[in-house]
């Protein structure tokens, strides 16, 4: 296999993803035309639904918050050469920790509950990621297999807990009781309201800012510390890492702990911020979307943020699209989302080669003049 064509940095980070996104939307447009709707109207509904109002922006960023956490989780593991596809289960168990803190200590002041909830979420997610990490490091069990199996174990454990123990008595739905109001993550509209800015009430909450802080910390840790250097070296070349005095098994476990802790923070947004109770399947697939987000975002916090916003927009805009255009049902929305993942993730090298050739030619012409 030949090495992928080289692109200048601006084209690599800006032009290529944009070209892929446009290609995905064009193909979606063809499909929408085929089912007898106007592609332009659909695109407008999608964009309006995702960014056209404060409510739209609020929901888009609220979804994006989940994807930032899981995207970072996947990226950190990726830098250590590990493909963690268990963010879903780690988010589930981490959320359980956050949820239990909110249920038990909800009467305490928020500023006491918050650090404990963050800690419990991180510990829960890290603990769930530790076992596959340890098995990989010490026993060579492949992390892809173990993490995906742990997703199923997590959901079995959570179903059992919610149906038999945590369920609020006397109701059908396997959900815990509502947290006390002290344990609600303040909505961004209330925070903005305090400084005199009006914003529509949406589930967007303080966890969004926590996700941004986590992004910054991940950047700091991975690119600006010795530990991060060890992580990247062990990921790119374990043999060289050993030669440099780095112990790859230890890095594997540490990377999985951090990865799990990041995924486990999803509960801060979903449970403390939006649902205010523990309910079945609250990660809602965000752990898997996180893989696409990390790949699209080139495993860099800035890229992850942008990709997470894109997926949040697809989620929110897609829901508005099927609301206003009933013929574009929820399965069609999944098709559109799938096309974006396909073009931006799996097929990104298809556009790379002609794009590189084109850019080289343009540059050549310029030099010839």
């Amino acid at each position: 296999m030949s090495a992928p064509a080289k692109l200048p940095r601006w084209a690599e980070l800006g032009l290529l993803p944009a070209v892929n996104l446009v290609a995905a939307l064009l193909l979606s447009g063809v499909i929408i035309r085929l089912i007898g709707e106007s592609p332009w109207a659909a695109l407008k509904l999608l964009a309006d639904g995702a960014f056209g109002s404060q409510e739209a922006v609020g929901y888009t960023l609220y979804y994006a918050t989940n994807f930032i956490f899981t995207g970072l989780a996947v990226a950190v593991a990726y830098h250590a050469g590990l493909f963690n596809i268990g963010a879903e289960g780690q988010a589930y168990i981490g959320g359980l920790g956050t949820g239990l803190v909110c249920l038990w200590l909800g009467a305490w002041p928020f500023w006491v509950v918050l650090p404990l909830a963050i800690l419990a979420g991180a510990v829960g997610g890290a603990a769930w990621a530790f076992i596959p990490g340890w098995l990989q490091a010490r026993r060579g069990s492949h992390i892809v297999i173990t993490t995906i199996m742990f997703n199923f174990i997590a959901s079995a454990v959570m179903t059992w807990l919610l149906v038999n123990i945590l369920i609020k008595p006397g109701q059908q739905s396997p959900e815990s009781r509502e947290f006390a109001a002290n344990a609600f993550m303040p909505g961004l509209h209330t925070l903005l309201g305090k400084v005199g800015l009006a914003f529509t009430a949406t589930p967007l909450n303080l966890a969004f800012l926590l996700a941004l802080a986590a992004s910054f910390l991940v950047w700091l840790l991975v690119w600006r510390t010795r530990w991060g250097y060890a992580l990247r070296v062990a990921g790119q070349n374990p043999a060289a890492a050993v030669y440099a005095g780095i112990l790859p098994p230890r890095v594997t476990i540490a990377a999985m702990l951090l990865s799990g802790a990041l995924a486990g923070s999803l509960g801060l947004n979903e449970l403390m911020g939006a649902q205010h109770r523990i309910l079945l399947d609250f990660p809602g697939g965000a752990g898997f979307v996180g893989i696409a987000v990390a790949l699209m975002g080139r495993n860099h916090p800035v890229g992850i943020f942008l990709a997470a916003v894109l997926f949040g927009a697809l989620m929110q805009g897609g829901s508005q699209l099927s609301f206003d255009m009933p013929r574009v049902n929820r399965d069609m929305v999944v098709v559109i989302q799938g096309l974006v993942i396909l073009f931006c993730g799996a097929l990104e090298n298809v556009a790379r080669v002609p794009l590189a050739a084109l850019l080289a030619r343009l540059r050549g012409e310029k030099e010839a003049e």
């Binding site: 959570m158 059908q172 509502e178 929820r330």
Partner: protein, 327 residues
């Protein structure tokens, strides 16, 4: 140019539609994860809404939920855009209905399979254990091996309710009958996994089961297909599923969600809708077992007589049916 014109025309058209809707009767329905084509619970709700549309010519808005946060958002949006009544299908919608109904006290809400105690919410529940009881009896009457099966979606209170009634009904016929129970999964995907449903049914058949009852939404399609392929019997759920495999479907545990939806819409239109709790059982024709031209060959007159007797006894209170209560 065309696109430009469209972009100008579209918001105007939407605006008019919203204005027009404000004064008129505008019903809406929100389905759960299973989706409106699950041939079972949600589809039954959708049929009720479609029938209302056919009878009255009044269109309705509908939405299929794909994630938890959408419920509240969509219901609030429906309320804002002038929906007169919003029917929420499924117990998972309860907390969203509770929140949105508080924000929009002027909008009527009907929730199915859950209780929300607010002045503008009508809660409709079913005594699924009664129809499951009759289906358990039917299974026990027809089983030659003395082993019958149950395939549920997820292990949640609602499905335990079905299972408990089914086992009790079967035991009433044969106290020693063996009932093999399986749940499909632990994630909501369990309601839409026909392949796994078929596998579970096959493994039950391998252990000697010759009649299997499913309460698993679209997963049940696979259960019923497997029974048909093995030349054995299945029992449908929620909608009348006898027509899927005539001669292989013994009967279906009907849950008339369609009737509930139709009634909610038409009552809201005529002004007779009222908030509060309604529980529909055999006596109210809310649940039943099915008997039609598709299962007449397998459900013999003698069996039917026995089931009808039990049906009458349950209605009169002579025959108590155990109920699963979430503690």
């Amino acid at each position: 140019m065309i696109s430009l014109r469209l972009s100008l025309a579209l918001p105007a058209a939407l605006g008019f539609a919203a204005l027009a809707a404000a004064g008129e009767f505008a019903p809406a329905i929100v389905y759960d994860f299973g989706g409106k084509f699950d041939r079972s619970f949600n589809q039954s709700a959708s049929e009720g809404a479609e029938r209302f549309k056919r009878d009255t010519g009044i269109a309705f808005r509908e939405f299929e939920i794909t994630n938890a946060a959408q419920r509240e958002q969509i219901m609030a949006q429906l309320a804002k855009r002038g929906s007169s009544i919003i029917v929420a299908v499924g117990f998972t919608q309860a907390s969203a209905v509770e929140k949105v109904a508080r924000q929009f006290p002027g909008v009527k809400f009907t929730i199915i399979d859950a209780v929300v105690d607010l002045p503008n919410v009508q809660s409709i529940n079913f005594r699924e254990q009664e129809s499951s009881y009759l289906c358990g009896m039917a299974a026990a009457l027809v089983s030659k091996t003395g082993k019958i099966g149950f395939v549920g979606g997820m292990d949640i209170p609602l499905i335990r309710k079905f299972a408990l009634g089914y086992v009790a009904g079967a035991r009433q016929v044969h106290p020693n009958i063996e009932v093999i129970q399986n749940m499909t999964g632990t994630t909501p995907a369990a309601w839409g996994d026909p392949t796994k449903g078929a596998e579970l049914a096959k493994s039950q058949f391998g252990r000697g089961v010759d009649v299997v009852f499913h309460a698993a939404g679209a997963t049940g399609i696979g259960v019923m297909q497997a029974a048909k392929d093995a030349g054995l019997l299945s029992i449908g759920c929620d909608s009348n599923q006898d027509y899927l495999h005539p001669g292989s479907v013994l009967t279906s545990a009907l849950k008339r969600v369609d009737v509930a939806v139709y009634k909610a819409f038409s009552d809201a239109k005529s002004g007779t809708w009222h908030a509060g709790q309604t529980v529909l059982g055999l006596a109210e024709n809310g649940v039943d077992y099915s008997y039609d031209e598709h299962n007449r060959a397998v459900l013999t007159p003698a069996m039917k007589q026995r089931l009808d007797q039990a049906r009458a006894d349950i209605i009169s209170g002579k025959l108590p049916v155990p109920e699963y209560r979430a503690q």
